[in-house]
């Protein structure tokens, strides 16, 4: 089955995995219709828990379920999953390395209509600062399917960040997800672009449009933590500059994570991301991405600027 929406890929994959793996349980905070936890609820009602609009309780309940051998997936919008339940994640799940999977759905600006209160621009930063946490941000629906499988196979806490809207796939279907391995989706020599989430697709478009003018390598960083330092250093060899691209604040996200690795490489880095501000309501997703500088054109501009260095 091919999906073009990360939420659909997520919900359907949980149903598929839950068929033979009784350990999987799913918790929703009255957003199951949006997170697609409702698909699991329809398939296995006894293993789905409606936790009401109470994310903190939901997250600690998941910790308890994990301690009875279950693999709980908690679903909410990223802004609540990572923000509202931060302390519950930190204090019990992360300190104890409990096997809880946290899904931050409708992340970034993807809930365009609801505005700043519902647009998570700092969830990667929060989650990646927590010891013992794995942070995954798939580029597309194909990768989401594989990432969910990898989350079940790994033991320990994991945060997955998903987009709300439909997008074409840029990664191959059925390619197993290796946690912590960045992948080159387009080869190039001059500029290395590290991108995550749906911005990977836009980075590839930007790179293709610059072909013949600037040779751009596009790297999909779908695991933000653990960051594979050796791989990142080796990927920038021969490139003169680096651009990072994320639908997240430039404070503490992918750009920061890459900079932490490359600070000794002495190469110029440009960040494409949300410039330390909150989001805003818009009538459509493209408007809000454009307003915050998150389009193909913005990425091209950053690459061209770096090529002149």
């Amino acid at each position: 089955m091919t999906y073009t929406n990360q939420r659909m890929a997520y919900g359907n994959t949980l149903v598929e995995l839950g068929k033979n793996d009784q350990r999987i349980v799913v918790l929703d905070a009255d957003l199951g219709g949006s997170t697609m936890g409702k698909l699991f609820e329809e398939a296995y009602p006894e293993r789905h828990f409606e936790m009401g609009i109470a994310e903190a309780n939901m997250t600690s309940v998941a910790a308890g379920l994990a301690q009875t051998g279950r693999i709980p997936f908690t679903n909410s919008f990223a802004v609540f999953a990572a923000g509202r339940a931060y302390d519950q994640i930190r204090q019990t799940i992360a300190t104890g390395k409990l096997n809880v999977k946290i899904c931050g759905s409708s992340s970034g600006m993807s809930d365009f209509g609801d505005g700043a209160t519902h647009q998570a621009v700092e969830d990667i930063a929060i989650m990646r600062a927590i010891p013992n946490m794995t942070v995954i941000c798939p580029a597309d629906a194909n990768e989401t399917v594989q990432a969910v499988k990898a989350m079940v196979d790994m033991s320990g806490p994991c945060y997955i960040r998903l987009n709300r809207n439909d997008y074409e796939n840029v990664t191959a279907q059925d390619k197993p997800f290796d946690i912590g391995i960045p992948s080159v989706l387009k080869e190039g020599r001059d500029i290395a672009v590290f991108a995550t989430g749906i911005m990977v697709g836009k980075a590839i478009e930007a790179a293709k449009e610059l072909e013949g003018k600037i040779s751009v390598k596009v790297i999909n960083v779908s695991t933000i933590k653990p960051m594979n330092k050796e791989a990142v250093i080796s990927l920038v060899k021969g490139c003169k500059a680096i651009v990072t691209v994320e639908e997240h604040s430039i404070v503490g996200g992918l750009g920061s994570a890459i900079s932490e690795v490359l600070c000794k490489e002495c190469k110029p880095i440009e960040y494409v991301g949300v410039n330390d501000v909150f989001g805003s309501s818009a009538h459509n997703y493209d408007d809000v991405l454009n307003y915050y500088g998150l389009t193909k054109e913005h990425i091209m501009e950053a690459i061209e600027k770096m090529a002149l260095k």
Binding site: V61, G64, Q67, Q88
Partner: protein, 274 residues
């Protein structure tokens, strides 16, 4: 239910021993949570040495009752109960909070045998216990989850999220015990931040409520046994207690929430508990 005098005497003695262990693990010149440990000591004794099915040789035994110390700051009391049960050496208690040691200031699930989950950020233990209770029902394990919470802690909103959820799920394998000692870290609850009345709150959240004297062993046992008979709803035991109980100079004294003992007061505390 009738309990033999011998049983009650034994448990009272054990509770006294736990209080003594608490004083020894705090030691001299270092702050420790003597107040809330001593108010909870009889309840914790009843759980570990009468009520709960557990095995120090096999702490993760599937068919066990579980205990969660939501008021995680009195970890020293739980360590005393675990040590006296045989999970680890009683001699180790005095090394509590030494750098890198397996007995931390708050319960650490990765370091200490017998700890079910990390707690101490207040208000979260009941939710964790509910998760365990739900998981045990899925596995058809007919055991219970006991969660000890503080009355000061009851100001945390998540306690009430969990209370609402547990009655919604009809979790009759979940038992909350409120150590109602009347004091929070900075003073009397009724003066500082009035979270009372507790009983009508729990009743309105759909719980079976039992009110007891939290230092009367017979009443504690009876309440724990009564909880077994309640079907379709969780039970909360509101236990009226005295903070610092058993150490005269610490009883009802706010400063001994996390207090320090001098050489003299340490000796006096041990003498009173011997």
């Amino acid at each position: 239910m009738e309990y033999s005098k011998e049983l009650i005497d034994d448990l009272d003695k054990k509770a006294k021993k736990l209080r003594k262990d608490v004083v020894i693990s705090i030691g001299v010149g270092v702050a420790g949570h003597i107040g809330g440990s001593n108010s909870s000591a009889d309840i914790v004794t009843a759980l570990y040495f009468y009520k709960m099915k557990h095995d120090p040789k096999n702490p993760k035994m599937t068919d066990r009752d579980r205990f969660l110390l939501s008021k995680g700051h009195v970890a020293i009391l739980q360590y005393a109960a675990l040590a006296e049960s045989g999970y680890f050496s009683v001699d180790d208690l005095k090394k509590t909070k030494e750098i890198g040691f397996y007995l931390q200031g708050h319960p650490d699930v990765l370091k200490t045998p017998g700890i079910e989950a990390g707690t101490g950020s207040l208000g979260q233990g009941l939710s964790i216990g509910l998760g365990m209770a739900l998981g045990m029902k899925l596995d058809h394990i007919v055991r219970k989850v006991y969660v000890l919470i503080g009355d000061g802690e009851s100001a945390e909103g998540q306690i009430w999220e969990a209370a609402m959820a547990a009655s919604s799920f009809k979790s009759d394998n979940l038992v909350a015990i409120v150590d109602n000692n009347g004091l929070q870290a900075n003073g009397k609850i009724i003066d500082r931040y009035n979270s009372y009345p507790l009983i009508p709150k729990w009743e309105s959240f759909g719980w079976n409520v039992i009110e007891i004297d939290g230092h009367n062993m017979e009443e504690i046992l009876s309440a724990l046994d009564e909880a077994d008979t309640v079907k379709g709803k969780p039970t909360v035991i509101i236990a009226h207690t005295v903070k610092g109980k058993g150490v005269s100079f610490a009883e009802n004294v706010v400063g001994f929430h996390n207090g320090m003992l001098t050489k003299e007061s340490y000796a006096q505390a041990l003498a009173e508990l011997s």
